[in-house]
């Protein structure tokens, strides 16, 4: 298939709206060619994962767009950056790196993006309508946007996400097309009991397992024996998008494109059905930890994706009036920070030993102390996946309650209330 650009798109690529917009449109068109798309689609909004400092090249790229006069042409939110611009937490980026990270965040604001700095934009007011085409980046945001909101996006990488936001266009392919949103396999969890689903860890564990089995295929989760909150779906999707190339899942009776299993399958037979057993669940739970018999933990991190106000309420309740023996990093966005400040919780949490991390998180920028053989505990399937590679810490996975009890004790504590 060859890509056909409209007259206005061709004019933009040739510089009619400035060199920055031209570069953006050329990048979108090149992506469309690689993806085999026949045309570009207009988009309603964008979410940008490109503003994390991974090295100077990203800053130079964004500043090249700014210098070319580019501006986003649709409402656009920002994923995390490498710095906490609110000053709540401290990053160990110094000198040149700190300056380049700051310049990069500045450049994305100069392009007209909103300073949301969160990986949970869908809980910060950015909720595109079901069926609308958008260009979102960041794997958990993508999967939530497609699966829970029912808006249509592919897994836009950084660079492409901002290019789409500037061009106002995205390649017409993949999950933008209805025929590709149909489930091809069934992930049947009806063999798991109600007690399992009563634990909040059920969602990241099942998500991690789903992602490994799915690869990049669309599936439908059938037989969920529980009510799924938005935070549960957030945890499931983030874990699934970490262990697999998941862009969209359906959950029968829960997500908007899956009123029933049959509807999610487009009334065709599934290519495969996975019957999930307690043994598979135990194995998936074990795989979320890289340290099996830690005598101590050095830190706890929660909030990947960023904590909602409801999750902060639970953290606040679980800690009570106790003091933590090791730091607990609670990663969130400005939307939830405003809520916990209004409630007076921020000061209480901080005096207990919680470090509220805003605008960023512990796996994208150096926040954790440098400790040989450090051990981090988390309730996040996504942190469990990325912490070893990105921070050097080993990981112990547990529920939020277990994370809090362990932070109080300074060593892993399992069991008790979940």
């Amino acid at each position: 298939m060859t890509l056909a650009l409209s007259d206005s798109e061709r004019a933009m690529a040739d510089g009619a709206q400035g060199e920055g917009a031209a570069m953006a449109l050329r990048i979108v068109a090149e992506a469309a060619r690689l993806l085999g798309a026949a045309r570009l689609l207009p988009i309603a909004s964008a979410h940008i994962d490109g503003a994390v400092y991974h090295g100077d090249s990203g800053t130079i790229f964004a500043e090249t767009l700014v210098a070319g006069g580019a501006r986003v042409s649709v409402p656009t939110t920002l994923n995390v950056g490498a710095l906490d611009l609110t000053g709540c937490s401290r990053q160990r980026l110094e000198g040149h790196e700190r300056e380049m990270a700051r310049r990069m965040m500045r450049a994305y604001l100069d392009l007209g993006c909103a300073p949301t700095w969160t990986c949970a934009p869908y809980q910060a007011g950015h909720r595109p309508a079901a069926g609308s085409d958008v260009a979102w980046g960041e794997s958990n945001a993508v999967v939530f946007c497609n699966s829970v909101l029912g808006a249509r996006t592919n897994r836009y990488g950084d660079l492409l996400d901002i290019a789409c936001a500037i061009a106002g266009r995205a390649p017409d392919t993949g999950l933008h097309r209805l025929e590709n949103r149909r489930a091809r396999f069934v992930f049947d969890v009806s063999g798991l009991d109600r007690a399992f689903f009563a634990q909040e860890t059920a969602w990241p564990i099942l998500g991690a397992l789903y992602g490994r089995l799915a690869g990049d295929a669309v599936g439908v989760v059938a037989g969920v024996n529980a009510r799924a909150s938005e935070d549960h779906l957030k945890a499931f999707g983030a874990a699934a998008a970490s262990s697999g190339a998941v862009g969209l899942f359906h959950m029968a009776g829960i997500t908007p494109e899956a009123p029933t299993v049959e509807a999610a399958l487009g009334h065709e037979a599934p290519e495969e059905t996975f019957h999930i057993t307690p043994v598979m669940v135990d194995e998936a739970r074990r795989m979320l930890s890289t340290v099996s018999d830690a005598a101590r933990i050095d830190a706890v991190a929660i909030g990947s994706p960023h904590l909602s106000s409801a999750e902060f309420a639970e953290l606040h309740r679980l800690i009570g009036r106790r003091r933590l023996a090791v730091p607990l990093y609670a990663c969130t966005g400005r939307h939830a920070l405003a809520d916990i400040e209004r409630a007076g919780w921020r000061a209480e949490l901080e005096s207990a030993g919680v470090i509220v991390v805003v605008d960023t998180c512990i796996v994208v920028t150096p926040i954790l102390a440098t400790i040989d053989d450090g051990v981090l505990m988390t309730n996040s399937g996504k942190f469990a996946h990325y912490t070893p590679g990105n921070t050097g810490y080993g990981v112990v996975f547990g529920s939020l309650a277990e994370c809090v009890e362990s932070a109080v004790a300074g060593r892993p504590i399992f069991g008790g209330a979940s």
């Binding site: 090249s57 790229f61 897994r155 990488g157 950084d158 492409l160 262990s243 697999g244």
Partner: protein, 137 residues
């Protein structure tokens, strides 16, 4: 000698082949400063992708792969050439952006992953026309 489809045009490259035996996430899986594979769960952990002819059966995980590849190009730690089973737009956009910036970028070609194994540990040469050849054969 075999011919791969050119996915992103770039400079021809030669080097030791590194044939990955499992899907890889570039973000969290490859250190953008050194080109070393850092994912503790990856079978090729500890190997460097810099200056190698890198055979990638599949990619997984975060959508930050393009930035990592852009940074590897900027630092001179990119593979000498990239061979992919499928055109992975997220990863390859790193090369597309590098070209827009005017930086020298390696060629990326497509080849079915069933044909990767014969290249393992050989010195492989990939032309800007997509021709894949093993040195000395």
């Amino acid at each position: 000698m075999t011919s791969g489809e050119v996915l992103v045009p770039g400079l021809p490259g030669a080097g030791e082949a590194l044939v990955l035996t499992a899907p890889i996430s570039f973000w969290g899986g490859v250190d953008p400063r050194t080109g070393l594979i850092i994912d503790v769960r990856h079978p090729e952990r500890g190997a460097s992708i810099a200056d190698k002819v890198l055979f990638i059966p599949a990619t997984i995980g975060s959508s930050t792969a393009s930035t990592i590849l852009l940074e590897l190009v900027h630092r001179g730690k990119a593979p000498a050439a990239i061979v992919l089973d499928k055109p992975d737009a997220i990863l390859l956009l790193g090369l597309v952006a590098a070209r827009e910036m005017g930086w020298p970028t390696p060629v990326a070609v497509r080849l079915e992953k069933e044909r990767f194994a014969i290249y393992a540990e050989k010195t492989v040469r990939i032309g800007d026309n997509g021709i894949i050849a093993i040195d000395g054969e």
